[in-house]
């Protein structure tokens, strides 16, 4: 039997290689970035006023999906641990919120940190055993987790009607400020949480922790020799990524007013959705999860009538992406921009002259 059974990748995953080192030239036009940022901010803030409540709900769905995808991205993209179980963390967050709100009358916003924390704890509980299992086998175990979770919920959670379905009332997710309608208020809450957590992630991957995560992903043995606590990093990554997913689950209850475990494979499907968003958007990037979430929701909306079309398209897209765009859309865009820049600067190599490195590289520059 060849060495296919070893599950340390020989080469870093495709998405790990940065496609464009920071080019000095970018500093020439900082105002472009600022303008771009301002435009995006204005659009994001004005959006809910220009649309009806059901469209705003869709935007919020994109946001919580992006959040969950970012969580998975941190673990799988930046830390190399494959998880098919993030649907379960999402579910933990969702049901924490749902139970606290429906059965105990909590303010829903107050449940968000609790949901994230609980999910993180479950993440730790999974992260420790995950130290002993790698690659495909870790994927298998986490898959089992995602399939097991709704069964456990079904057994212990009895919503009204006697099924594992909890629905907060409209009054429990309404706006608390007079000048914002319900759906606008919820949009801003999601936006605020998304922005804060994305900035957090951005800071994280550029900092020492991020570099440690990436080092563990690419060359675990080497990382331990330079003093990185590999086990700590791995478990921490699990916990953090689970927290993101759990928070996303809490938001899903806020937006969709449903926590539903009646379908045994629902959280497995969620896990795959997050993975799709990460891979298609671009793993190990900051913008990737958001793009991937947008695409996911767009495809879902387009195929609303025929229920099975969405998974068919998504499955096909997933496979295609591996061949055509291994580093996802963001990676593809980056490569495109490098190529364009290469051409416009008359074919001269970028100032640092760094070709695609074979050895693992430090954190890729965020979008």
């Amino acid at each position: 039997m060849s060495d296919r059974s070893t599950n340390l990748p020989d080469t870093p995953p495709a998405f790990a290689t940065p496609s464009a080192p920071v080019v000095a030239g970018e500093k020439r036009l900082p105002w472009l970035r600022i303008v771009f940022g301002v435009v995006v901010a204005v659009v994001a803030l004005a959006l809910p006023y220009l649309n009806d409540p059901s469209t705003n709900q869709i935007f919020c769905q994109v946001m919580y999906l992006a959040l969950a995808a970012m969580g998975l991205n941190l673990l799988t993209g930046y830390n190399g641990q494959i998880s098919l179980g993030h649907g379960a963390f999402f579910g933990v967050g969702a049901f924490t919120t749902a139970i606290l709100v429906v059965d105990h009358g909590w303010m829903i916003e107050a449940t968000f940190p609790v949901a994230a924390l609980l999910a993180a704890l479950v993440g730790v509980a999974v992260g420790f055993p995950a130290l002993r299992v790698k690659g495909l086998y870790l994927a298998l175990i986490t898959l089992g987790l995602a399939v097991l979770f709704p069964l456990v919920v079904k057994k212990f959670v009895h919503g009204s009607g006697g099924v594992a379905l909890l629905k907060p009332k409209r009054s429990q997710v309404s706006s608390v400020v007079d000048f914002w309608a319900d759906d606008i208020y919820r949009y801003y809450v999601c936006l605020a949480i998304l922005v804060v957590l994305f900035i957090l992630a951005w800071n994280l991957v550029r900092g020492r922790m991020g570099r440690a995560m990436i080092a563990v992903r690419d060359q675990e043995v080497a990382a331990s020799t330079v003093g990185i606590g590999v086990a700590n990093v791995k478990v921490w990554s699990f916990a953090l990524s689970a927290a993101y997913a759990g928070l996303a689950g809490a938001l899903s209850v806020y937006i969709d007013r449903t926590a539903d475990a009646t379908n045994p494979i629902v959280y497995f499907q969620r896990s795959i959705e997050f993975l799709i968003a990460v891979v298609i958007g671009g793993a190990a990037t900051i913008g990737g999860p958001l793009l991937g979430a947008m695409l996911l929701v767009a495809i879902r909306r387009r195929t609303e009538g025929t229920e099975a079309m969405a998974p068919a398209l998504l499955g096909g897209a997933l496979i295609l992406v591996i061949y055509v765009l291994p580093d996802g859309i963001v990676g593809g865009l980056r490569r495109l921009s490098t190529w364009i820049r290469g051409r416009t600067s008359g074919g001269a190599p970028p100032p640092d002259g760094a070709p695609e490195p074979v050895a693992p590289a430090p954190a890729p520059s965020p979008t």
């Binding site: 099924v163 009054s171 009646t262």
Partner: protein, 460 residues
């Protein structure tokens, strides 16, 4: 493992986080519990069942949507029920009422308060899943509840429970819910009411009474669905046999929507029971009968009123011979009703207006037809066409008959009696002739449901 950052880098980040947390906490302190939009589970749409003639729903708390969902001369109804796959047996119900509505529409429409209206029904497939039901109804009724006049004949106990909060808050009538759950008597949700399907606890009582008379020391094993539908049978039956020599040897549950019940039946048989309360519905019901037959379990068997359709009993075939049930609808297959005038009218209506694939001989089509017929009668009797009037009328029905209700069964409701039809007759299946034979007299359980149902079951 902590990230060392320079103090400069750390500060903005921490500040940002603190701000966010503070903002969240600040906002969450401001919420008032009751936004007063028709109220939640602590008051309903102003409902309080005091006195015989008091209105049950008080539209003063409702938004001004009393006539929403009436589009010109069309009354729009919304529904949701399983239409495909393993749960498709219930799809036939709608064919009954759609045929009746088509007939009424073809004859100019139903006359309400001097004006004629057509009736239109939109119904999506929910595959018997409560989460899908909620989604469907929300999209059909609209986020502010104005896209349909009323919700009609949604199938499933858990399915109706998933939508009752919202519809209560939005003051949208949810009438003729196609389930016999005693939960529709819950006074906190006056905007939801059931249909002529007798409450499950009444069914349980009928069977318990039968046993007390014919098999007083029966050992009963029960198969019920793992949700409130099943709970109604289990608790209702157990309450009825208290004090008698009848015992329950074992209760097994199965998941809604699944049809695999062989293991459960094996276990029930092994518990030593000689009587089988088959409270299962959809495919699980005939599967259970088949399993019992295959395992040679010779038991006095009772099946749920939701199982007595031609499709489901046909699947069980010989294994269903001799099983008991209750009903208040005339069975189209029973030759005793062949010359009945209501039955003739039913057959004619279906022949002319029924969908191509409808089978008039199927008992649940007859049930659907009856609900449609009763709704039209009720609409005719309103003095104004608005939601509040309709809903209050639903609690003020006196001796109403129509459709294929058995002779002697009348619909009676009041603010204290929130169940439409509580009279039933025992029936027994004859597999050779393939229909149910009526046994004994129509049993009068009018107004008894609250007495025979555990209080916390009604109010759940």
């Amino acid at each position: 493992m902590h990230t060392k950052r320079t103090t400069k880098q750390r500060r903005p980040l921490t500040a940002l986080l603190l701000l966010a947390v503070l903002a969240l906490l600040a906002t969450s302190c401001g919420r008032s519990e009751d936004t007063g939009k028709g109220g939640g589970s602590d008051g309903g749409g102003g409902g309080n069942g005091d006195g015989e003639s008091g209105a049950v729903v008080d539209t003063a708390d409702c938004p001004d949507t009393g006539t929403a969902g009436i589009d010109g001369d069309t009354i729009k109804l919304a529904s949701s029920f399983p239409q495909s796959g393993l749960t498709s047996a219930f799809a036939q119900i709608s064919k009954g009422y759609l045929a009746y509505f088509d007939k009424v529409n073809a004859e100019g429409g139903v006359e309400v308060a001097g004006k004629k209206y057509k009736i239109e029904v939109t119904a999506k497939d929910d595959e018997y899943k409560p989460a899908s039901t909620a989604q469907n109804i929300e999209s059909e009724v609209g986020t502010d509840g104005t896209d349909a006049f009323a919700v009609f004949n949604v199938v499933g106990t858990a399915n109706n429970v998933a939508i009752r909060d919202d519809l209560n808050d939005l003051c949208v009538p949810n009438i003729f819910a196609a389930t016999g759950s005693p939960v529709w008597g819950n006074e906190s949700y006056p905007w939801t009411i059931g249909s002529t399907l007798a409450p499950y606890t009444v069914e349980a009582k009928a069977f318990a009474d039968y046993l007390k008379e014919n098999k007083p020391d029966a050992k009963v094993a029960m198969l019920v669905q793992n949700d409130d539908f099943g709970k109604a049978y289990e608790e209702g039956f157990k309450q009825q046999i208290e004090g008698s020599d009848i015992t329950v040897t074992q209760v097994k549950t199965y998941e809604a929507g699944t049809d695999e019940v062989t293991a459960e039946v094996t276990s029930l048989k092994a518990s030593g029971a000689d009587t089988f309360f088959n409270g299962a519905t959809l495919l699980a019901c005939p599967n259970a009968l088949n399993a019992a037959d295959e395992q040679g379990w010779d038991a006095v068997t009772f099946v749920s009123g939701t199982c007595i359709s031609k499709t489901l009993m046909g699947i069980a075939g010989e294994a269903a011979d001799g099983v008991f049930a209750t009903t208040n609808i005339k069975d189209p297959l029973n030759p005793a009703f062949a010359n009945d005038s209501a039955m003739k009218e039913y057959n004619e209506t279906l022949k002319e207006y029924g969908a191509k694939d409808v089978d008039p001989e199927n008992g649940i089509v007859a049930y659907g037809y009856t609900q449609g017929a009763l709704l039209v009668e009720i609409l005719k009797s309103l003095d104004t066409l608005d939601r509040g009037t309709l809903m209050n009328k639903m609690y003020d029905l006196k001796d109403l008959t129509g459709g294929l209700l058995l002779d002697g069964v009348e619909v009676n409701t009041s603010p204290t009696d929130r169940f439409l039809a509580e009279d039933v007759q025992m029936i027994q299946y004859n597999a050779k002739n393939k229909y149910f034979e009526n046994i004994g007299d129509v049993l009068d359980f009018e107004g008894t449901t609250p007495d025979i149902t555990p209080k916390d079951l009604i109010n759940s």
